[in-house]
Subunit: 453 residues, 2 copies
């Protein structure tokens, strides 16, 4: 069962949850002075409109007409009831998913990429530099830049660069230049390579490289695919559409589930529903799922930390494993990030959302069953949501309850087939992280600054 | 602009163009006796219901409810107006496409795979063996078999097997066993390997292998992804949906374009419209596009020929390059077949459709522009349709006309990214075929049998 919306029913604005929060996140701090950053600190990286969105407390921010026009290539996305998956699980619960895999990048990332490229173009920027992990964000930005005639340069985490040649190829097809990160093109990259010439890289390192390139040229900006408020904001089109789609079939989710790398995917689907709850509407449980091998929400420290490896970015108040932490090379590259967005972190701290950490084999078991029954091969990131969906459905069945579960199928896994081959051949391994190791890296997360922030 | 249909608006029947033809195709002939084949000749390969469909003259054949239920995972498929592509071309014409890339296999092949698996299951078959070129058909059948608990074994043309490891992987994810063809598992394969140990294979060879395996076990059947009447029949859901979608926006195509490998894709989108025309409805130009390196429609011979390399299959009345012809290793693996279905061949012979042969570089130029503007990376096969769309739009502009063009975007190119890389890097080559070579192979096409058939 698919619930479609007409293109005229596409959201007209982004939803800003900050407007509905009692406890708003603490401000970002300047990496050197440790004082709250002002707009001027960010202008080398972002266009002013995005900086304003980053600090906005308005509930609604209008979506520009040009952005909506490009959205209409892939939005509104369908809300689907996974009837055959439900049947295979033998559950009494109803399982719905929002399918974001139909976009040009094959994931939700296109939602913010188009908006960010638009605002940069408006401000006369010529080129955008970014990082990418699994490749979904880099692909989305490549496509978005092509729509506005912007150059696009992508630092791709080496692990993924080597593992996913087709991802490189799709970015190049959309016209982008792609580098393996750590590269020898930046100081940040060279430093990492000096320490470890075989480094597989990390999102933290790739961000440092992209930021370093962006600040050197006034006509070049940087773009981030998750973590920041404005990125989460753009993704709320997902949840807003889902809400309208549920309305059309007289349903409402009891539980919302999404994977969490930086937080934009999770925020995108859940924030509009959480906002509804905060304004006195229906109650909803929102569960962010992270890999057990990168467990910032369940085993990280809440404090101020850098967004990147080299400490170029502002410090953010967030759950973090420490910016030097490099997660094991699991297949869900998009979830291999040391921190969670300030907004998601604040909501977790305040008990408004829940977190769950799952090992990758359990995730792929759920993903394979979903592929066989629903005919969509989920991205490894999305398999994390699926594993939690299975857990919740089983739990409800055991308790004799019938839940309505919504999860965000954030992207397809067409460029991750080697992960499925590994899984089928029994080559996938789970990673147990020792507390000692985690504590070592977490020491760099500053809880002292929380009082100052 | 996307035009969706509700799942209740999905076609309730397959449309059989035979009912509306004045000149029906001649019957298939037995490979040894050269007499028309009877149902008994085909029972080792196909379930009776499909054999009956193969010879049916009824206009409408009901789609079983179970098949429609599985279709609802990916059908009705959207009809989309390619506004940004039109703008990039600067054309006055309207370009619409039916998007079949949202299916489990990423192509139109799922339409017939689900139906064929269903009828085989109904008849107690345990396993289906098939061939695949680009991998789209094998993927579709793998998924379909998984829905009915059937085993699936796929002989994949070696050129594609080596070029597309992810295609193998997706078939295995759906539970199929995949062999590189020519293989050493069959007499047909061994014979080819004896002559040429480095053979890249062909669809004709892979069909021989699959048929050979199927006939050896009564609980195993064979399935073909194109060419036969019943396969074309199942694909007519595409054109039927498109017709209803055009109706909703008060449009009607002047020109319908699709690539032609065996003919099912082309037939699927065009036959319902051609049928309308044959019954006195609106006139439409339907153009089948083939690669210039496998030009059966434009440079082949109309006569009786085998469907496979080894002469195991019945002989069909068709345009053929000769069953020994092995096309150059172009990237559109799905179009590397020596013959065209009897139905498409008959329509071409009778002037009811047109044919066009295009070199692959022109195709990829059109495909790249489409990817950048519409955000969908077309399969190399679909790029052939796109190149013809560009030609028709330009032609209309030159003549000061405004046409409504429909093409079938039969699949996405996510598993064909190496082709795009080759194109971007200037490594793609066009192949000119000498008439002498073509004549040599075409000598095996029997025009004498046309009188007998």
């Amino acid at each position: 069962m698919k619930i479609y919306l007409d293109s005229r029913e596409m959201p007209s604005h982004f939803y800003n949850i900050v407007a509905d929060l009692t406890n708003r996140p603490l401000p970002p701090l300047h990496p050197q002075t440790k004082k709250p950053v002002g707009p001027a600190d960010l202008t080398p990286l972002f266009p002013m409109e995005l900086i304003l969105q980053e600090v906005s407390t308005a509930r609604k921010i209008p979506i520009p007409e040009t952005v909506r026009e490009i959205y209409s290539l892939f939005r509104p996305s369908p809300l689907v009831r996974a009837l055959r998956f439900e049947k295979a699980l033998g559950t009494r619960s109803k399982i719905f998913f929002k399918y974001e895999g139909g976009s040009p990048s094959g994931s939700h990332k296109a939602n913010t990429a188009v908006a960010q490229a638009y605002y940069n173009k408006q401000e006369g920027v010529k080129k955008i530099v970014t990082e990418t992990g699994a490749g979904q964000w880099g692909t989305a930005l490549s496509f978005a830049c092509a729509q506005f005639g912007l150059e696009c340069e992508v630092f791709m985490v080496k692990g993924s660069y080597d593992q996913k040649p087709y991802r490189r190829s799709i970015m190049q097809t959309f016209g982008a230049t792609v580098h393996s990160s750590p590269s020898n093109l930046t100081q940040a990259g060279l430093e990492v390579l000096r320490e470890d010439p075989d480094s597989l890289g990390s999102l933290g390192i790739a961000i440092s490289e992209a930021v370093e390139v962006a600040v050197q040229d006034p006509s070049t900006h940087y773009a981030l695919g998750s973590v920041l408020n404005h990125v989460l904001l753009h993704q709320t089109v997902i949840g807003q559409e889902a809400m309208l789609q549920f309305e059309k079939v007289n349903e409402y989710p009891d539980i919302i589930i999404a994977p969490l790398g930086g937080g934009s995917n999770f925020a995108g689907v859940s924030f509009p529903f959480i906002g509804e709850m905060l304004r006195g509407g229906k109650s909803v449980r929102s569960i962010a799922v992270e890999p057990a091998s990168c467990p910032k929400l369940t085993r990280g420290v809440f404090g101020y930390d850098f967004g990147d490896k080299s400490g170029y970015t502002p410090m953010l108040p967030m759950y973090s494993l420490g910016h030097d932490f490099i997660p094991p090379g699991i297949h869900a590259g998009g979830l291999r990030y040391h921190g969670a967005s300030a907004l998601c972190s604040q909501l977790l701290k305040d008990g408004l959302i829940e977190a769950s950490a799952i090992q990758q084999i359990e995730c792929f078991e759920a993903g394979l069953l979903f592929a066989k029954t629903e005919g969509i091969i989920p991205a490894p990131e999305a398999n994390h949501a699926l594993a939690q969906v299975v857990r919740e459905a089983k739990q409800a069945d055991e308790e004799g309850k019938e839940k309505t579960i919504l999860f965000n199928l954030c992207g397809h896994g067409h460029f991750d087939m080697s992960a499925y081959t590994d899984f089928i051949q029994g080559k996938l391994v789970d990673h147990e992280l020792e507390q000692e190791l985690l504590s070592k890296y977490a020491a760099s997360v500053s809880t002292d600054l929380l009082n100052q922030g």
